[in-house]
């Protein structure tokens, strides 16, 4: 069932060839579903369905933006030619999906659902690298991207026209290495996870500032770029990387600890809740559980109705759930190489994805797995982040 395409490694081809090779849409059926059934189901009422979207793939040939309709289900992949990372949905045109390249990134793409058309591809500015995430302004007119100034390592928030992706300018991120960013419920404030790491320019991954790393959680005005608040963790070797925002403005954040910069093996909290004007509250867990996480949380999502902040640990093969208000650990679920996590459109479940192409549903009330809903797509290798998207109900035939 694996699909193969003639996509060459990006670093071996020029820009023109890259443009030719990206954007191939491939479809794969789940185990046991015929092409005939798929054709019927995909031609009618497809827009009634929820889509699950994620960067996927484990080599240059297969990297892409993958998506599935879990109710049919089928999987499709828009090849990108680069390893993707964060995905974002336009607030008013829900069919428009953005995928940013994993850091250090040069590209972003926009795909339209449900057909998977490559609507646009955009590149970084000179002396800038994308850092893996983007979000839209409240009116959907601006796309904000986390970026780094490659000349001095300063964090930047790029501003682009969300229709044309023309570069409009940038703001400071007031820190080093901005990673995930989200719009706050007021529609104006951006909250930014400044990871605080500088990396080797040759590979873009090796950390070069372990001694001086400087992570922060920053709030800025998305209209003016003005700094509103900046917060730091007591543990200077913890890098704030991912976040999600609840409707009341609570921000769930997750960290990655640079253990090689520490001289001890004590467990360090990797998850926290923050509210503007207050201190960051670390979320506690038993020592053995924390050690299992191996210093890394890969993704976070907030369930607004149940007030649960959910996190994933691909190294620890665990998804973990804390209450946003009591800060109590509510449970955990063991799932191999789990990283993507989202809340289902009907709010009834958390959905988890892993690098084996598997999806699991966790009941948001009981935090028990709904085993009958397991899905597996052998053609997919889901990467860090998963997003649930529901398109307006209408026929597409």
């Amino acid at each position: 069932m694996k699909q193969h395409f003639t996509t060459l490694p990006l670093n071996k081809i020029n820009r023109r060839r890259f443009l030719r090779t990206l954007g191939v849409v491939s479809a794969s059926l789940p185990l046991g579903l015929s092409t005939e059934v798929w054709a019927k189901t995909s031609n009618s009422n497809i827009r009634n369905h929820e889509f699950l979207i994620s960067a996927q793939g484990n080599d240059n040939e297969h990297y892409g933006l993958g998506w599935i309709d879990p109710s049919i289900p089928f999987s499709r992949n828009l090849t990108s030619g680069f390893r993707g990372h964060g995905v974002a949905q336009h607030p008013h045109q829900p069919e428009r999906i953005i995928m940013m390249a994993r850091r250090p990134g040069q590209y972003g793409i926009e795909m339209t659902l449900p057909n998977g058309h490559l609507r646009e591809r955009f590149s970084n500015q000179e002396n800038r690298e994308f850092q893996g995430h983007a979000c839209f302004s409240g009116d959907g007119k601006i796309l904000f991207t986390s970026e780094m100034d490659t000349t001095n390592g300063e964090g930047k928030i790029g501003r682009r026209d969300a229709e044309t992706f023309a570069w409009l300018g940038e703001f400071d991120s007031y820190g080093i290495e901005p990673h995930e960013l989200k719009l706050m419920p007021d529609g104006i404030t951006l909250v930014i996870a400044n990871g605080g790491l500088l990396t080797d320019t040759t590979d873009g991954r090796t950390t070069t500032n372990l001694e001086s790393m400087n992570s922060s959680l920053v709030y800025i005005n998305s209209l003016t770029g003005e700094l509103i608040e900046r917060h730091k963790l007591a543990e200077s070797k913890a890098s704030i990387r991912h976040l999600d925002v609840a409707t009341d403005g609570s921000v769930a954040i997750s960290m990655q600890v640079q253990r090689q910069a520490l001289t001890h093996q004590e467990p360090i909290a990797l998850t926290a809740i923050h509210r503007q004007g207050q201190e960051i509250v670390l979320l506690d867990a038993p020592e053995t559980l924390l050690l299992n996480l191996q210093d890394y949380i890969g993704s976070v999502v907030v369930h607004n109705k149940e007030r649960i902040a959910a996190f994933t640990s691909p190294r620890g093969n665990l998804a973990l759930f804390w209450h946003c208000d009591t800060y109590q650990l509510l449970g955990y679920h063991a799932f191999h190489d789990v990283c993507g996590i989202t809340v289902s459109h009907d709010q009834r479940s958390f959905i988890l994805s892993n690098s084996n192409g598997e999806l699991r549903y966790i009941d948001a009330l009981t935090l028990q797995e709904q085993k009958q809903r397991r899905l597996e797509f052998n053609a997919m290798q889901w990467d860090n982040h998963l997003l649930s998207v529901a398109l307006p109900t209408e026929n597409n035939s």
Partner: protein, 362 residues
């Protein structure tokens, strides 16, 4: 059974007879194809000839340690102490053969995994000797009832092989390691015998529980963990071979990062033989036993990965050389190199995908 591999090569191999016995159906002169079936056979044989024996030997050794402890406490003597100490060494050696397989019943509870109650060092390389000494002193000096409930309630830092070693190999008062001093203390202090047998009972119970789940009923499913593993039906979705390979990776990473040979079994004085037992086990897992017909080595050989096999062999030999020289730095280097083999050469040679690389975070 779902096999986690993408076998893309069809290989004509000279080692045909090696695989024919297990793949079935082929004639003696047929070319040998590396199939999902042969890999499945290799996994099953690795389980049956390496992993399960390690589980069962550790269980037997732990039960024998309890018996030896009870025999010693019934009539303390130098001879019976020597027997109990020897049985502790046997048990610790059995543990170091089992330790690379830290999955399933040993590690299916993320909060209270069984393995930390056997080997507290393994959690994060912390030496809890001082904690154990204080706890034994307290147990002997206070008036608590030293029954099963008392020992079952203890934190992992205070039980397991380390606690038994401290109890068996030194005195509480002066930390003397002289046999006569130890025997005298046991003779004069009945509560120390209660500590010894209480700790040994707990270890034996845990080893039996692990063995029971591996062999008979795992997590009240009615199926053994062996059956679940071979069927590829692990609850967290991990593929069997991925779990086996990453478990050995993690163990080698542990040996490399923690100063195990300078912390473990210091009173018993067998740290080097213990890590040698681990390397023996890992070598056996890779190459198979006399009973094995399809080993991971043979599959790699058949697929033409001779240089990768040579790299593994070189690093295993380097580990043995470091053990012979009792050179902890060289041993750490060899363990790291072997860890790299289990991350790259062996998965490549078996054409296994271990998943997306999240090792450098993001």
């Amino acid at each position: 059974m779902k096999i986690p591999v993408l076998i893309t090569r069809t290989v004509i191999a000279s080692a045909a007879t090696l695989l024919l016995a297990s793949c079935g159906g082929e004639r003696i002169n047929d070319p040998v194809t590396v199939t999902e079936g042969s890999l499945s056979t290799a996994i099953t044989q690795a389980l049956d000839y390496s992993v399960l024996p390690a589980v069962n030997v550790f269980n037997t050794a732990s039960n024998n340690l309890l018996s030896a402890s009870e025999a010693f406490c019934s009539a303390p003597s130098a001879s019976l102490l020597s027997n109990a100490q020897a049985q502790w060494k046997t048990t610790a050696t059995a543990w170091f053969r089992l330790a690379p397989y830290r999955f399933g019943p040993l590690n299916d509870d993320p909060v209270l995994p069984e393995y930390i109650y056997i080997d507290s060092l393994r959690l994060r390389g912390t030496d809890y000797t001082a904690t154990v000494r204080t706890d034994i002193e307290t147990a002997i000096s206070d008036s608590s009832t030293l029954d099963d409930a008392y020992f079952a309630a203890k934190n992992f830092q205070k039980v397991g092989l380390l606690a038994l070693e401290i109890t068996l190999f030194e005195t509480v008062d002066t930390k003397s390691t002289t046999t006569s001093d130890i025997v005298t203390e046991f003779t004069n202090t009945e509560r120390k015998c209660q500590v010894l047998t209480g700790l040994a009972t707990q270890l034996s119970n845990r080893a039996t529980r692990v063995s029971e789940q591996w062999n008979n009923d795992y997590d009240e499913t009615g199926n053994s963990y062996r059956t679940t593993f071979i069927a590829g039906e692990l609850s967290d979705g991990t593929e069997p071979l991925t779990l086996l390979i990453t478990s050995v990776q993690e163990y080698l990473d542990y040996l490399q990062q923690r100063d195990v040979v300078n912390i473990t079994a210091q009173k018993a004085g067998i740290a080097w033989p213990l890590v040698e037992a681990s390397i023996n086990e890992i070598e056996q897992l890779f190459s198979g036993t006399d009973t094995t017909t399809v080993s991971f080595r043979a599959l790699m050989q058949t697929s033409g990965y001779q240089s990768e096999i040579a790299a593994v062999d070189d690093n295993i030999q380097a580990a043995y050389d470091a053990i012979t020289a009792k050179d902890s730095v060289l041993f750490s280097v060899a363990a790291a190199a072997l860890d790299g083999n289990f991350k790259r050469e062996i998965p490549d040679g078996l054409e296994v995908e271990l998943g997306i690389n999240f090792t450098d975070g993001d």
